[in-house]
């Protein structure tokens, strides 16, 4: 194990995979000479040369589509889209082509493509640069969408994504790049499609991914110390496929759930989680499933307004308390009726 940042874990994994497999190469804007907008690819152009680290024109549709075409011929491109906001310019290539080609042609061509891209918010980048729209890709059959929250998971999921024969959208997060954690030195790819119980508990299930899984773990630890609460934390890790079983099993145990998401609430990822819990554990719930999500506005530039729009630790704590309070009321009512 080595202590390193999320950024370093991504960098080291990219480098190791490029050394391991000549078919792995990188494409994206400013990833070579500029060394990446967030420096994930620092030093790789110098080490591997222009063939393996391709700086592209500002043409998301063109270069993402080119990566798909190269993948169809057996290369394993890892595309960096500077932020997930810009992936909208490549939406047709991702949704209509990367996600469709394997099925639409009856399994004749694989698309072993990874699209790395950070979501974010909280950096005063304004409405067009602060969105979390991974939902758009998680909605689409044929895509795989993964979202690590720790440096170790970043490594394990990136290994899995690069070695997978399907298009994988690999969601990073601007706020996580500098977070640190122990990272295994050996290669142990994660299993895509599996969520992780990041913390075991019995009082309530807290569900999140990416930055919100990070927040969930922090809040759970804090409340364990301050309130003696025993909260179970599920880190979804994979948004498509979605590991519904792990969610259901947890809620059957805790009887209450709070879902955290960095996207908008209406039709968001949390809506799918809440529906899943309704489908699989309706009778086990002692309180309505609560969602903590971004305020539904174009993200303002003003720091004050931006902070107000984004979910915080306090928002999560408050949602947990309100949910537990509802559980308590129900338990009291149930107790009365059965006494």
């Amino acid at each position: 194990m080595t202590m390193k940042t999320y950024r370093q874990a991504l960098h080291d994994t990219l480098r190791a995979e490029m050394l391991r497999d000549e078919n792995v190469f990188l494409m994206g804007e400013e990833i070579g000479v500029f060394e990446g907008s967030y420096k994930i690819t620092a030093g790789l152009l110098a080490e591997f040369g222009e063939k393996r680290v391709k700086d592209t024109p500002i043409a998301e549709e063109g270069f993402t589509g080119a990566a798909i075409g190269a993948a169809m011929l057996g290369l394993r491109p890892v595309v960096e889209i500077m932020t997930i906001n810009f992936s909208l310019l490549a939406l047709d290539q991702i949704v209509n082509h990367a996600a469709k080609i394997y099925g639409m042609f009856g399994g004749q061509a694989k698309v072993p493509l990874v699209i790395r891209t950070p979501g974010g918010g909280g950096q005063q980048l304004g409405a067009t640069h602060s969105q979390n729209i991974e939902l758009y890709y998680a909605f689409v059959p044929g895509m795989k969408v993964v979202a690590p929250s720790t440096p170790a998971d970043a490594k394990a999921l990136l290994l899995a994504a690069i070695r997978d024969d399907d298009p994988v959208l690999f969601l990073e997060n601007l706020a996580l790049y500098n977070t640190k954690g122990e990272v295994p030195d050996e290669d142990r790819p994660a299993e895509i499609g599996r969520a992780k119980i990041a913390r075991e508990g019995h009082d309530l299930t807290l569900i999140g991914y990416s930055r919100m899984a990070y927040i969930a773990k922090n809040v759970a630890e804090t409340l364990a110390e301050s309130e003696g609460l025993d909260i179970e934390v599920i880190d979804l890790m994979s948004l498509r496929p979605l590991d519904r079983e792990t969610i259901i099993n947890s809620v059957k145990k805790t009887h209450a759930a709070v879902v955290l998401e960095d996207d908008w609430l209406t039709y968001g990822i949390g809506a799918e989680i809440a529906a899943t819990i309704s489908d699989g554990a309706f009778d086990y719930l002692d309180a309505p499933v609560r969602r903590v999500a971004m305020a539904e506005v174009p993200m303002p530039y003003s720091k004050v307004l931006e902070s107000a729009a984004m979910p915080t630790n306090d928002d999560v704590v408050s949602a947990i308390f309100q949910t537990l309070e509802a559980v308590g009321r129900r338990l009291k009512k149930v107790g009365q009726s059965h006494d």
Binding site: G62, A70, F105
Partner: protein, 394 residues
């Protein structure tokens, strides 16, 4: 509008131009509103000098096969045996055989949704092509693609694509893979005239030229994007001139003359193989509507009446007879043989099995994955389980 709608190369039968767009003049206002005639090149003698009887007969056989296949497909479509959309290559046959004739077996083709003829000319069995239209298991895409999405890796047809312009970035990337591996292969990417106005056209031509990729972009300009004329959609209706924006070589050729198309396509492919991508504009005709169901009421009676004289199939038949390469009886025999071939393809398709519903989730993912959804519409995600009473009263 009638004049503007008609491609202008139909009066020329020879290779029309080798104009490098880097030297092409900029668009005048006149050119934007009225299609300028293709220059009769000084090299017109090339085509006549190159006439090769055997080659022309082969072209004729292939063009008639496409013609009869498309007519048979149209019939099956109107009988509701074929679903979805059905875009035909009627009028485009000379372009198809000329373009495909320039490719090696190891070269790749990306095309759009008007692709049946291209699939057959890549060497794919017409039976399997027709079976795909019928959505059957023997179809070239096993019934998953239909008319717009045919694919066969063994014949290096890397897809028909239904989204206008979607194939351009993919073709560019395939060319990148060829370059990455240092191979001697070329990608050809065909599209319609309307595609020149979509962003992917610009992005792909720029990337291809920037990186020196072995790709030929071919615009089949039949004068109409669905019902909209090129003049009404393109500020520069001479589409090959767009290449000058990317310092890319380009030509415009008469798509009704298969030899002229072959000749131009060979130059384009050779250029791409040498690392210089190429834009080839092929002036063609669309004899029918945009798709089988389109009555094309937006075309004037006068325009439609003129169409027949630009039909490349009877024109080539007349030429073969006139130049004494074939007798009228031999031409007729080819027609009958190819009509029988199309009928056989239809019979094969009708006899081919429907896919089994149990295969619905066979192509969810190439790499199997945990928690992959295999739920049919009416199925519940979870069986409804009641909470144990003991727990409720805890």
């Amino acid at each position: 509008m009638t004049d503007n709608a008609l491609p202008t190369a139909k009066t020329t039968t020879a290779k029309t131009t080798t104009a490098k767009t880097t030297t092409a003049k900029s668009t005048t206002k006149k050119a934007a509103t009225k299609r300028t005639p293709v220059k009769k090149a000084a090299t017109a003698k090339v085509a006549t000098a190159k006439v090769d009887g055997a080659q022309l007969v082969k072209f004729y056989r292939d063009m008639v096969l496409i013609r009869r296949f498309e007519e048979r497909a149209a019939r099956a479509y109107t009988e509701a045996l074929i679903g979805g959309y059905c875009h035909l290559n009627l009028g485009e046959e000379a372009a198809v055989v000329g373009l495909m004739g320039a490719l090696r077996d190891t070269d790749y083709l990306f095309t759009n949704y008007r692709e049946h003829g291209y699939a057959i000319m890549r060497g794919i069995d017409p039976n399997r092509t027709m079976a795909e239209l019928y959505g059957r298991v023997d179809g070239v895409s096993k019934g998953w693609g239909g008319s717009m999405h045919m694919f066969d890796m063994s014949h290096r047809l890397l897809g028909g694509y239904g989204i206008v312009g979607g194939q351009l970035p993919l073709a560019t990337g395939a060319a990148l893979a060829i370059q990455y591996r240092g191979l001697d292969e070329v990608v050809m990417c065909t599209m319609g005239d309307g595609t020149a106005n979509i962003g992917a056209f610009h992005e792909s031509l720029n990337i291809a030229a920037l990186w020196g990729l072995p790709v030929v972009f071919v615009v089949i300009n039949n004068g109409l994007g669905m019902g909209t004329t090129v003049a009404k959609a393109s500020a520069e209706p001479e589409i090959y001139k767009r290449a000058s924006a990317y310092a890319m070589a380009a030509e415009r050729v008469d798509g009704l003359d298969p030899l002229a198309v072959l000749d131009a396509a060979q130059r384009a492919v050779a250029s791409a193989r040498a690392g210089k991508p190429f834009l080839l504009e092929v002036l063609s005709e669309r004899l029918r509507g945009h798709s089988v169901v389109d009555p094309a009421k937006y075309r004037s009676a006068e325009e439609v009446a003129h169409l027949a004289q630009f039909d490349p199939v009877p024109n080539l038949a007349a030429r073969l007879v006139k130049e004494r390469i074939l007798t009228a009886a031999e031409v007729h025999k080819i027609d009958e043989e190819q009509a029988a071939r199309a009928d056989a393809a239809d019979a094969f398709a009708q006899a081919s099995a429907q896919p089994d519903v149990s295969t619905l989730f066979d192509y969810n993912y190439a790499t199997p994955v945990a928690n992959d959804s295999r739920r049919l519409p009416g199925e519940a995600l979870f069986a409804t389980v009641a909470r144990p009473t003991a727990e409720v009263t805890r």
